[in-house]
Symmetry: C2
Subunit: 282 residues, 2 copies
């Protein structure tokens, strides 16, 4: 049975005991409403560590005004059952009031990788992500932490933060998990109407077509992007937030794909903003 | 004999071994050129911990353009002898190139306590302090870290950072140490000419006079400040950077002293900027 912990202090002290016994700790930070993508991270943590902790926290700091904080899907009872089934040791599910003091005033800013893509369309988002992830690292003290490649930019920003701040944790990036028809798993897929669900398939199919064009020899970023964007502008239900091809590690803009690059998409499907990506040239 | 360590990785692994043996770790972060103020921190660390680490790092990130980074006084051989004499276990003295990657891009910002006083006259200073102190905490993993009350605002900013980011360390603030004639010990005192050294006594004597006025019943901040500033404007060698009275914990501006307050000074003595402070109403 997974043990639910609500208080940071209690979480730390439980894990300090385990660490003193020489046990290693894996952390899977989540916002809950778990799907197979999260569970694949959990399984990696279970494989590599003596103790696995899943955090469940819908972090207000990473939502902008007008974003979906209040309606973000939640189902802790179901999350708990899923984690029981996976043999997770601890579910750390603090209340926002316990994690942030009313006069909280310290923030972690990554000032390079977090600027383009989601950083440009969601100001303050990565500051919120970095701040809460560093807090979770400090509370849990994990040997390894697991993040999905679905949030590709987030993974790169966190790797950079860990390097720059000398955080003693190993970051594992785990493959994106898709539905059989290609849709990338996301807690936000629950917002989609049946019609929107069908339209949303354009994201993965556009990424696939771009990967094919690359495999067929196309190296020009403008040419690849023209094809990519063309496939996302046919359906009036879709509105591109961004569609870009950038260096897979530095996230710098490219004219030509020479090394691994990430094809990164954020698209509104009706009112729901979905992201997806594929790495090419790897 | 103190063991000198240059590489963060080596420092971490040496201390991980100690921690596994159940030993507690104290950290005294310094910029070197040690004086009795630093040594009082070292002694506190030695009293409370099994292992004591002094870091020596003149952190470029906390110096602004035109500040004294390049001429900041250094004497590692002497520092090492002093630490030998105190029975310190490790001197962590990394090179700047090993601590910051050329594309370092992650910073820790405290956005309330760091705004007034030194934060106003040294933009970016506390961002540099918070970032390097958090890095040192991550590398060393101390149970306790020791800071002098000479850098009063720094101490409060670090306490806030530790609280906000859930850093698992206890912060100890240690009393300011003065020369027999009242001058607060500072590595920067070495910049002073004999004449400036005499003029610099006005800082501590102005603070003393303000504490006396408070003890005599004066509670009005404008009245206390008038007396304080008056004593610092008589000598043409002195130029006030700031002279303020603020809440001792929140550093908020005050009209009347009702709870503990800090009288905080930054004064240029010739070309040398000195800080000093006294807490009243405690």
């Amino acid at each position: 049975m997974v043990t639910i912990v609500r208080e940071a202090r209690e979480m730390s002290s439980l894990l300090t005991q385990r660490r003193r016994r020489g046990q290693t700790i894996g952390l899977v930070p989540t916002m809950g409403y778990l799907h197979e993508g999260h569970l694949s991270l959990v399984r990696s943590s279970r494989m590599e560590n003596d103790v696995s902790v899943v955090s469940l926290f819908v972090n207000p700091l990473q939502f902008g005004p007008g974003e979906d904080l209040s309606r973000y899907p939640r189902n802790e009872a179901r999350d708990r059952e899923l984690l029981d089934g996976e043999g997770v040791d601890f579910l750390f599910a603090p209340a926002a009031e316990t994690l942030y003091a009313p006069d909280h005033s310290t923030f972690v800013d990554e000032a390079a990788l977090s600027l383009p893509l989601c950083g440009a369309s969601r100001p303050g988002h990565f500051r919120g992500v970095c701040t809460v992830v560093l807090k979770l690292f400090n509370i849990v003290g994990p040997d390894r932490a697991y993040f999905g490649m679905k949030d590709y930019q987030q993974l790169q920003v966190i790797r950079r933060m860990v390097r720059d701040l000398s955080v003693p944790v190993t970051i594992r990036g785990c493959p994106l998990v898709r539905e059989p028809d290609g849709l990338a798993l996301s807690s936000r897929n629950t917002y989609l109407s049946p019609q929107e669900r069908t339209s949303a398939l354009a994201l993965s199919s556009a990424l696939e077509a771009t990967a094919r064009a690359y495999a067929d020899g196309e190296r020009s970023v403008p040419a690849l992007l023209e094809g990519l964007r063309g496939r996302l502008t046919r359906d009036p239900l879709l509105q591109i937030d961004y569609a870009e091809i950038r260096d897979a590690e530095s996230l710098e803009a490219l004219d030509v794909v020479e090394a691994p690059a990430v094809v990164a998409l954020a698209v509104r499907v009706g009112k729901t903003r979905l992201i997806d990506n594929a790495v090419i040239g790897g």
